[in-house]
Symmetry: D2
């Protein structure tokens, strides 16, 4: 008698060596098949941190590695839940292990819709990685769909509903997506490991020791409060120090201008693009299929930028060169409310010495909320972190942690004005004889990294 | 008065955060300019481990990161030599710190000639990364050359002579290239860190504590014998466990067949390639310039493989698919001397069920010498590792280490026969009804991973 | 010609392998001699964390290891200051390297006056480890004094003045003692390493990269703000999670009662103590010399407790047994202002079932200020942490860090009521038949770890 | 209905934070009770590495921590065996989980018979820690016995039979004692962690992945060969670099002479010892009970050495001072077969300048066999390490590992002659005027750390 696909265990557990979790353990045939699908393998060719690897050269890890990591953390949570907090053991609010496979699939596939340099790409080409994730999960042509559908009819849609947070079981949803979920836990640890920064490290083992299910989702034992607190602080540190790093954003704005320029040129002189960027054409045309999307990766974009070094458009080729050779725009902080006019002046100066400010200056603002509790009137609802006391009652985290209270609802980040390095580096100013005073004027408006009158 | 370029120090030491060495410290303007050159930046787009990242998903680090690491170790050695073993202090055999800049440049640039998937690429297109390194260093058009030449006339050639081992000072040469050099030390530590294996780890701090210059090059204090011994063992472990991993080699043979097929097709039907792989054309034509070479990277090849998914040649598109979607050929060990005929039989079986054995089988042998002492009659000369006793006399490592003696001159590795996974995985055999017995015959010739009669 | 003792360098740098700092490097003969002195060697027999090792079994490291660690961090700071921020380089506010030896000696010897279980011992026997440190440094009979005095006359007193913070150079004082000094940095890292907790870890390398001298003492470069912030958070975490752990304090109160009981018994029946605790006698008599003090260590006290297992006083022998066999008192939190009467009731219950509340209950409060800025009206002055901007102006840390602002001036800790485990563990209640209801009454006053009406 | 003691699980798993294994997990009440017994708690007061902590100051960890570690590794092995290789799953040769408790108890208690500075103490006082372990397990008065006996009658004897290797199940015996067992695995990792050396580190996770039971005991999957090989190499490295360190042995010989001198003095003038060393008396008398033995610990011996500083015997007080203040004897290697006469000469020289060679010189030889396979004629039988091939057949390790083959049966270690540091350090020679030539003669017989004619 054959076991149905849904329940097939590998004869021998398969492992993937992983520097963050030591080993990724795979026990289900379904999971192994998903890992081997072309849609998941494609994630090997997309960097997890995009342009941040230009600042942290060690951080060249892919979304594939991250996806395995999220899967592994979820698997461990399921193990702990099943061992100690099953419905059989603790009744209502306990874990139902028949949810395991759906949780594992959702964990592994949660980022499947990401494309190259997602943030920027989405902005220019109006794609949405979450919507595409759902599309990949539920389109009959994808390998992922075919594997999921073999589990049972409707299974692909169920996995998709975890991503869209409409699944009936909040425990499964919150494992994958909440303020302290397998996704965030993996990327903080992984990004810390690969950048080589220590501040992103928190104590995963300890958090897994205190995580518990309850009827409303996931909570943490009160005696694990400091472990959770430490996670929030690590998250804050990674944002302000790694994710918001000014140089990475200086590369991001170059990329944005570069793709924008290509987009514009397509409409004016599309012929030359036909040969140089075939896989990007559908997006320049704004008429693409899911299959078109799945052909893209970091290497494809970089290769087309490489091709564009030879185009006749000087802006396109120059921006491509700056991107490939890592020449980020430089920046200073500014105050949006009061320095609008000064920004205009600065752009004019940039233009004076010969740069088109549309392509060679930018405003970039990075902000994040390290943690927030429930605010009835807030637009975006966030699942707050709940601590479980001995008698089962819940307490929201910021009520007991002075550190988290300090961060809760506090937006972190800054506003930056970007401009060519040539504006402030005299060794690059080959027209200094003509524009010396202009350059000096520009420099005089920046002090201690801030824009000043 | 301006300081000459050669001696320009950065006003403030510049650091790059690195997970292996914590920080890479840059003090010379020359070094910073080299790092920012397009030839060095290009190394960001070439993976250090090539197809091994298909087996060790964490190991997606680039040759750029490795190059910085080799530079950093060399810098630390120079610091130690200058502080404790300068010519001023210990006389002849001591370190001359005016050699520092040349050592640092050679360290940073030693891999500059590497291209995408070097090993395979070189094999197919008859390139040689060491020769290209020298060409990049000494061709007036490269940014690297221009920076080096600003230091002083003849400086590019001097750096090149370190690479070719013709430089006059053996200490500088052995820092960069010997059986225990900055190159090997960085890649063992880095590859161990990124693969997540522990066996590649050795105690760099301790080795740096006992390294000392002598007239003939680099030696190690006797009391550091065990640290050096541990390094040799780590090297052995990384080779047999990571670098020779059968799955990575299973991807390598796919890649080799894929590039070979493209090469052949170019000669028969080159037109269709003009559009799909412009930057590869000069190589298919076997007429390429240095500039052509410097346009290549992993992403370029992968993108062209992606384009080839749509070609009409079924072998080319199938192999491209196998490579992009990570479908390595499977393998078993065999005995070259006695199993030649059996190999022929196995290939015939592969052909029977429908695979062209030219493109779907392969022989792959991986071998390395973890350590060797000087053998007058050996073809390839290796610098042996010397230990320095209290009275200054030298002793060759394997004379005092039973572990190293066990490994010295012993070639490690194996011979493998590669074939499609379809041959042994029944879930993939859609023609099993027809060829069931053939498949069984094939399987019967493999036992415990070895080819048997 | 012989070099004066003060300037004697070891012919070969001597190293001590250290798990926290990798190596402790000793270059001066003075330092090596101090390490080999009997007063410093004695620190090997005194645990750094006292009773905390009963909770964290891995943390059995000694004050000797910590002293070496503080020395090593100080040495590294001196190296950095000398290399980059010497008076010669940056003028007034720069580092004067002739201060190095005094800084190193003060660092190595800052804890030399500590005795066994310092906190408790001092409380019972009215000793003061800081005063004793000064006494050891300046008493002609100690080996430490003799070594220091060989450096130059008055040198012992100079080192002592660093400890008492009256030395003329605030940079030297703040290296050893400030809110972010070599002492705190070593013990946080070391205690985290040995307890196996990760939350005490901060990025020492990065802090050392941004530390700089200025006229008023030690400051940190603005771009190191987050590294300093992370240190403050680690400090907070170690306090609330390790140093204030309720079980360690449960052992501390046992120890306190035990030493108190011995003190009392001496006055009533001193004879029996003459033989069992000779080295403790001077303290029981309250008439001790420095030499008496230097004979004590953890093992001496533990051995006497061991002897006391055989005394006829049932309280003394029982408390000794509880201490040696690790039977801490249990505890619950309480509110000092409002629960005074309830505490009286609880003690009465403890007495009812047969325990003398004087020796079997206790109040223990642990509090710490993770960080504070200057408060003119505060009794105890603390050196605030200063950040240095590009133009040299200073900013106090909590002004730029929301995390530190949240912790600044906020006292952390709790008040606990301690009682025998027998009160709440039924398996230990051999008189439950008689006192069942009393035990239940006791238990009813504790909920979720807190005292309730 | 109450669960029998044997099967009682803690309501909530109890954990101990451990720096080596992260957490020690305790699930059985029996285990928790054993940990809390006075015999196990006593191990907190005995250092794991004895005099080695005088060389590696970080290595002050206790036998208590090691015992928990051995328990934890055994627990993990049981988990793996039960999950994957139970008798139910793989039939004969599989794991019977009813053996778990006995394995855990034996693991936790395997070192319970160790006393202070075991190696030396046993030598002088003719004790035997393995025999005492058995005695503690099976003597009705110990807490350990009482707990074990509550499990079921005969259980204490069963646990003892695992220690004496007469238990019927070789899997249980080999878990605790074989050439690759939980004991060795924990101490190698733990000692490496606490000394701060990296060479003792091997990949425990990977070894646990490949460990499997078979009828004859414990084996390892063939694909884990390199992990096992790495463990053997680590073991070799720890022996030659840590356990055999000449300075630690220089302290050991001081300790040996000190205890020997005390032993002799007892017979000649025992009165003075009655007061100073009460707990040591039974051993000096050579008439001690198990209870006497259990009163001893490192602190007790050190305290008595401290008392002896004041005795009138100059040799006893001087050796006590050398031990407490860490003044090891110095040493050089020698060749036992050919240098007997030279040793006599050296001792005479030592005597000439005023040292009694009986107490101030010593011969110390340290040897270990890193690994051995079965040798029918060898006196001491060792369980060889077996690798399991896919078809279940076993292969002995050294047959497939060139590294292990190099070490197998090869005894590592050296013979050393110890003498006072005064013999070679001129700053300590206060009678140099008289004996200058004698000192020079002594020094002339040592070259490059070896004894020469």
């Amino acid at each position: 008698m054959t076991v149905s696909y849904k329940f097939q265990q590998l004869p021998m557990e398969k492992v993937f060596r992983d520097p963050v979790h030591n080993y990724i353990h795979v026990q289900h045939r379904v999971i192994l098949d998903l890992i081997n699908s072309k849609e998941v393998q494609r994630l090997r060719r997309i960097k997890q941190l995009g342009t941040a690897s230009f600042t942290f050269h060690g951080a060249e890890h892919s979304r594939f590695a991250h996806s395995l990591g999220v899967y592994e953390i979820t698997r461990r949570i399921c193990d702990i839940f099943q061992r100690n907090y099953s419905k059989e053991k603790i009744g209502a609010g306990g874990w139902d292990d028949s949810e395991r496979l759906i949780a594992l699939c959702a964990a592994l596939l949660h980022d499947i819709g990401h494309g190259p340099y997602s943030h920027t790409f989405e902005h220019i080409f109006h794609t949405d990685h979450e919507a595409i994730t759902v599309e990949i999960l539920t389109s009959p042509d994808t390998e992922v769909y075919q594997i999921l559908n073999r589990v049972e009819e409707g299974f692909p849609e169920k996995v998709a509903s975890v991503i869209t947070k409409t699944y009936h079981n909040p425990q499964v949803i919150q494992m994958i997506s909440s303020q302290i979920d397998a996704d965030r836990m993996d990327y903080l640890l992984r990004d810390a490991y690969y950048t080589g920064t220590e501040y992103g490290t928190f104590d995963l083992t300890r958090i897994l020791r205190v995580i518990r299910p309850y009827e409303g989702g996931i909570s943490f034992a009160m005696n694990g409060m400091h472990a959770v607190e430490d996670y929030i602080v690590s998250r804050y540190q990674m944002y302000v120090q790694v994710y918001f790093h000014p140089s990475s954003r200086g590369m991001e704005v170059v990329l944005e201008h570069l793709l924008n320029r290509a987009h514009e040129l397509y409409h004016t002189e599309q012929q030359s693009f036909l040969a140089t960027a075939p896989l990007l054409l559908p997006f320049l045309k704004e008429d693409f299929s899911l299959d078109d999307y799945l052909r893209l990766d970091d290497g494809v974009l970089n290769t087309y930028f490489n091709h564009w070094l030879d185009t006749t458009d000087p802006i396109l080729s120059d921006l491509a060169k700056r991107f490939l050779n890592r020449k980020p725009l430089k920046s200073c902080r500014f105050e949006p409310k009061t320095q609008e006019n000064l920004l205009i002046t600065m752009k004019e100066i940039v233009e004076t010495v010969g740069f088109n400010p549309v392509y060679y200056t930018a405003i970039n603002s990075s902000f994040d909320l390290p943690y927030d509790f429930y605010r009835p009137k807030s637009g975006k609802h966030r699942t707050q972190i709940e601590l479980q006391q001995k008698d089962g009652t819940l307490l929201e985290l910021s009520k007991v942690s002075p550190l988290v209270a300090a961060l809760a609802g506090q937006i972190q980040g800054d506003n930056r004005f970007y401009f060519p390095k040539e504006m402030v580096d005299q060794t690059l100013q080959d027209n200094y004889d003509l524009f010396g005073e202009t350059y000096q004027l520009f420099a005089s408006h920046i002090r201690n990294g801030e824009l000043v009158e």
